[in-house]
Symmetry: none
Subunit: 416 residues, 2 copies
């Protein structure tokens, strides 16, 4: 089975002056990898015709597929489309189906469509045009001697949509890649190296056709098992056998056995149990509520949140006692428990979580350094509160505290 | 005046399977750009000798400086150092000052130093060795026909330290770089293409030494002016002259004249005016509070938020009238105004913003399709409420509504 090599070229002056970080490449590389393609090189170049041509030429020499993002906006600085016409010796022609797609996209906002948008419908004559249902720039697919070049918009939400629903399925069909089976397991509470040590024996005993990858994110490690066998039923059984052992080793540290956001795991759990959640947030500043409500349908199980950033709000809206605040401080077991039990009652919820901590960079003391976080979860008849110690970075502390809150909700609900 | 061209090569298998996002390149590009270097290309390759050699060779053909990160760890898969010896036809020799630096770094944890660490002291014979005071891998600096290659560790904190304190100062001394001046302007309320049409005459009249770039993000366009002239005072004056015209064209659509997050713009405005903010959020689900509190020191001007996701919470915690809810629905001018005035009072704030809308994918009607959002901002004596129509995507609607809320806060505060 031949390996299909891919190169990614991201185009845009903003990448080369460091104004934006190229997150597209990593997203694409991850998705390509899952489907059995191998990314050989990632190249970022500016909106410069001769440099784009050179990069394309070199990429085609090394790889079977060239995936390009960026430079497809309607303004003068975006030149990818014209450059590809020169590369493939073709010309721009008007394509009315692009206009139809744009009109459908903006049907509630027709005044957004203007003359420049209309230019988006001029597309390379010899390319296959793939409609982009998330933006104005269509995707163009070129073929050349058994190799493929695809040019996609650089806006991450648009690129992700066209890759997932249009480009990847077509690439898999074109190159007849072997089918792989992936299984993701989200593990909470272990640094990567500690998890690797804990799993050494299990990992060494895995059959050769099942590969394991550790994908660490702040506070969590995603394990990905990738299997490849001609008999897909046999493969599924083999992977399930390995998972049974993994569950016995990791127990409750497994947050989910699929690659979904932790807030979706919590949402599903609440929905299954028919419970309503409320949150009371100090240092996380609304991030827990925000994450919960990114999930469609979250209104079924989420009542709301009090973001009690000031002590006055803690006292007046959450009924935290001024005595507790002055005796123990806002970052304390007493205060966080009062926050949780109060929001549970006020918001008519079945489960509540409260967080109070020092996100930093200021506000730390010797006793409670930056990164000290108290979290409490409760129902009407149960309560867990716990102190965590994270690091120095504000945004990371907010993320880590939100994740810890989700893990604690799961722990409480599963000990019922 | 000669432009000094730089290429960045980041090395590591983890980049090409999408396990980590390459944030090093953007950081380096931004710092290089500030010092007048121009980054020509960014290339990511795996830990593969022939591919590293090829990438180095091509980079040297295009650029004056090649900056490399990664592949300097002490384990078998890291091969950058040996590969560079082959490229520059030299050999590894023992350098005792590297060991001294490592011993100093680990003086409180001497047991961390092992045989593998010792290998870090073998360095290319013909390179200048620059000590890395943040990690075990030294920086190597090669010169070749007036060009320079620098190999640095890939750990971001180590790379940032060696770049800031060792590599950049040496590069500036080696090449006498011209200075560039950048000016960013954040423009709200125009799609990229509509803004381009509005600015056509102004853009066409820009002097040749000032370049303009459009950097669109959801709901906002960042304009970047980049100027280059031998006389930096003359350049500043010229850019300021262009900005005066730009301000007269765009007026209040300019959210800021620097490249900072909008939540930081609002934070600074509140701080300057000595005002406290509170938010009442329905469809944004806490995202506005979350964004506000990502900024260090936001407790100075942010009291808190009520995330009123359910109607019960709107009634009980925000005193929204059940009659208004049943007569007009939660997504209405009446309800959003009650939410804003109520949280202003309950949270003892000077400014309040409330948002209620249909983020989607469900909940839309013909009269109020998905993407319909009402926003109200108020102080004790003023109030603005406005209806917005965004698109179909839930997370994008949440972002757009949050941005619109910030723009409306700014509008209210500046009409005082």
């Amino acid at each position: 089975m031949n390996e299909v090599l891919v190169e990614i070229i991201t185009i845009g002056d903003e990448l080369l002056i460091g104004q934006i970080v190229d997150t597209n490449s990593a997203w694409m590389a991850k998705e390509l990898n899952k489907e059995g393609f191998r990314v050989k090189q990632i190249t970022s170049v500016s909106d410069n015709e001769s440099h784009i041509l050179e990069a394309t030429d070199l990429a085609f020499r090394r790889a079977d597929v060239v995936l390009m993002t960026g430079g497809l906006g309607p303004t003068k600085d975006d030149i990818t489309k014209q450059t590809l016409c020169n590369y493939f010796q073709t010309e721009l022609v008007f394509n009315s189906s692009v206009i139809d797609t744009i009109k459908e996209l903006f049907k509630t906002r027709p005044n957004v469509i203007n003359e420049l948008t209309f230019n988006q419908a001029y597309v390379p004559k010899t390319a296959t045009i793939i409609q982009n249902k998330r933006g104005t720039a269509p995707v163009t697919w070129f073929e050349k001697g058994g190799k493929v070049l695809v040019s996609m918009p650089g806006v991450p939400s648009e690129m992700e949509w066209v890759m997932s629903y249009e480009v990847l399925p077509r690439l898999k069909a074109y190159f007849k890649t072997p089918s792989l089976l992936h299984k993701s397991v989200l593990v909470y509470g272990y640094p990567e190296s500690a998890l690797a040590i804990k799993l050494t024996d299990w990992e060494n005993a895995l059959p050769a056709y099942i590969k394991l990858a550790y994908l660490p994110t702040p506070g969590m490690v995603k394990l990905r098992l990738t299997g490849s066998l001609p008999d897909s039923h046999q493969l599924e059984t083999a992977i399930e056998t390995e998972l049974i052992t993994l569950r016995s080793i990791l127990g409750k540290s497994i947050l989910a056995e699929e690659d979904i956001p932790v807030e979706a795991v919590i949402g599903r759990l609440l929905k299954e149990k028919g419970l309503k959640l409320a949150t009371a947030e100090s240092c996380t500043g609304g991030n827990i509520a925000h994450l919960i409500t990114t999930i469609p349908g979250s209104s079924e199980y989420f009542n709301g949140s009090v973001v009690a950033y000031s002590n006055d709000v803690k006292i007046q809206s959450l009924g935290v006692s001024p005595e507790s605040l002055s005796a123990h401080g806002a970052v304390s077991q007493e205060v966080v428990e009062q926050m949780a039990t109060s929001v549970l009652k006020c918001f008519g919820a079945d489960v509540a979580v409260a967080v109070s901590g020092i996100a930093g960079p200021d506000g730390g003391t010797e006793e409670k350094p930056v990164g000290t976080i108290w979290i409490c979860v409760c129902t009407n008849n149960k309560l867990i509160s716990r102190r965590f110690q994270f690091g120095q970075l504000r945004t990371r502390n907010i993320s880590m505290a939100s994740l810890a809150a989700f893990a604690l909700i799961k722990e409480l609900l599963e000990t019922e």
